[in-house]
Amino acid sequence: MKHPVSPRVGVCLLAAALLLFPLVFSDAFYRDIGVAFLLAAISASAWNIVGGYAGQVSVGHSMFFGLGAYAPLFCYTQWGWPPLAGIPVGIVLSVTLAVVIGMPTFRLSGHYFSMATIAVAELIRIFFGTWALVGGAIGLQGPAVARGWWDLTFRGDLAYYYIFLGVLGLLLFVTFEVGRRRFGFYLRAIKASERAARSLGVPVRLTKLKALALSATFTSAAGSLYAVKTGFIDPDSGFGILVSVQMVIVAALGGAGTLLGPLVGALILIPLQTAANTWFGGGGSGLTFILYGGIIVLIARFEPGGLFDLWRRVAALVWRRAHAA
């Protein structure tokens, strides 16, 4: 099917827009939204690898986010390490956790995996809340004043914006490349029909594990970025259900299993969330959840392919009409 606008041109335009955004909109308010958008896009794109492409729905992905968030701050508070050094630590922990969860559950039907992710995320959240070493219910803090660039403690959002943008670019590139190779084909085959995939020699369990590990890596990185930027983490902001839900809804709203779906989702949801917080005020989080819940149900019921899929169908329809005329 031919697209009205060549994909390559579209991607270049998108990249240009993202690069120029904080320079054109230099007010702190806009930059803040920009950073929030990027963070949401990174988390959702990371989730997308295992949840969208492979079809293994994790609703507890915050476990990787939280580990990635705690690691740099823990390394800083315990040993004075720059948070930057803690990022790989978080990744190692997350990948280990991914394998531990994946190994038993990927033998079984998809529901087991989903349930396991909820249970483990909750388990870790409660546990961290009671563990003094990681700050218990209070959590951990990062450097108040930067000792050097490696502390990644900047004033203003500009530096964070470009760091996050770089990570997003890397993640999308990796997802794109992986999607084109055998691994990507195997993921889509597993999502479509595991039984058929098996009969063609696809190593289903191993492929799912790899997808989860890759997803965990980037989710952990997202958590690390979050912790480094806000300079603070606690069990709820790290492992809470809101974190998991947001990843899922951003990806699903935009289009799970597509490369740019999560970006579309973030583009819509972050401004929506900011607006909701302003309207509903401080007690907003409850209403935000109601909204999220409603959106998720509607997507599941009417548009499981997300807005991207809707857009593709509408665009194809318009294209056909325009050419029939």
């Binding site: 084109r180 190779r181 055998r182 084909f185 195997y186 889509r188 085959a189 479509a192 029909s193 039984r195 058929a196 995939a197 098996r198 009969s199 063609l200 020699g201 696809v202 190593p203 289903v204 299993g257």
Partner: protein, 238 residues
């Protein structure tokens, strides 16, 4: 001897779907597997394909014991199978569907794509057609193309020719013959007698979990036990 099944049995609870079945297939043969519904041939077939774990018995492929091997293991060893209900990868094109199979022996994308393209041509499908837009005959053919891409030495066809019009049936039979001519050994489960008579040289008849007759199609069709199995006692003397 390419495939040997010795005394294979499969129980579901206290019900023995397969109660001691033997099978030998030489390289290069086309063997048919027929029997009334509920006779256990599908379960036996799934045991051969690695989808079901036999309760007892042994399955050997080219000397290697594959009794407990996974479906992936079967594919890697060189056994391919189709499904009665074709499980097309709906969101992928025909070519992409076949590439999934091709990747087994061709890990690199360009090799896999080339190999897949050749197979798609061989089976007469259009490479860029979305999987979900295919009708049943197309899906069945795609199922065959997909598994062919894994370069099997033995192909297990599970009612791959059911639900086709007479023209489609003739084309499908020709396709299976072409595949056979490239050197692939075939075991075909089928209800349609035309397929069995024209394609196979040897037929096994299943009933109540066991092989009750074997021979050429002509012999088997006249066998008393076979007639009784299909039509019941009393039909023998009809």
């Amino acid at each position: 001897m390419l495939l040997e099944a010795h005394d294979v049995a499969k129980a579901f609870g206290s019900f023995w779907a397969v109660a001691g079945a033997d099978l030998t297939v030489e390289e290069g043969e086309i063997v048919g597997l027929i029997g009334p519904n509920g006779a256990g041939k599908s379960t036996f077939f799934n045991c051969l394909a690695g989808d079901t774990l036999p309760t007892s018995g042994r399955i050997l492929f080219d000397g290697t014991d594959l009794t407990r091997a996974t479906p992936e293991g079967h594919a890697r060893a060189g056994i391919g199978r189709t499904f009665q209900v074709p499980m097309t990868f709906e969101d992928m094109t025909v070519l992409d569907n076949v590439m999934v199979g091709a990747f087994l022996r061709h890990p690199h994308r360009s090799d896999a794509r080339e190999h897949a393209r050749r197979i798609v041509e061989l089976t007469g499908l259009r490479p860029d057609q979305p999987g979900r837009s295919l009708g049943t005959p197309g899906r069945k053919r795609l199922g065959i193309a997909r598994v062919l891409a894994t370069e099997p030495r033995l192909l297990l066809l599970d009612e791959a020719l059911a639900g086709l019009t007479p023209t489609e049936l003739r084309e499908a039979i020709a396709l299976v013959r072409r595949i056979h001519e490239t050197g692939v050994t075939i075991v075909i489960v089928e209800h349609i007698m035309e397929v069995i008579m024209t394609l196979t040289r040897r037929v096994l008849v299943f009933n109540q979990g066991k092989v009750i007759a074997s021979g050429t199609p002509e012999q088997v069709v006249k066998d008393e036990a076979v007639i009784e199995a299909y039509l019941g006692r009393g039909a023998r003397h009809a």
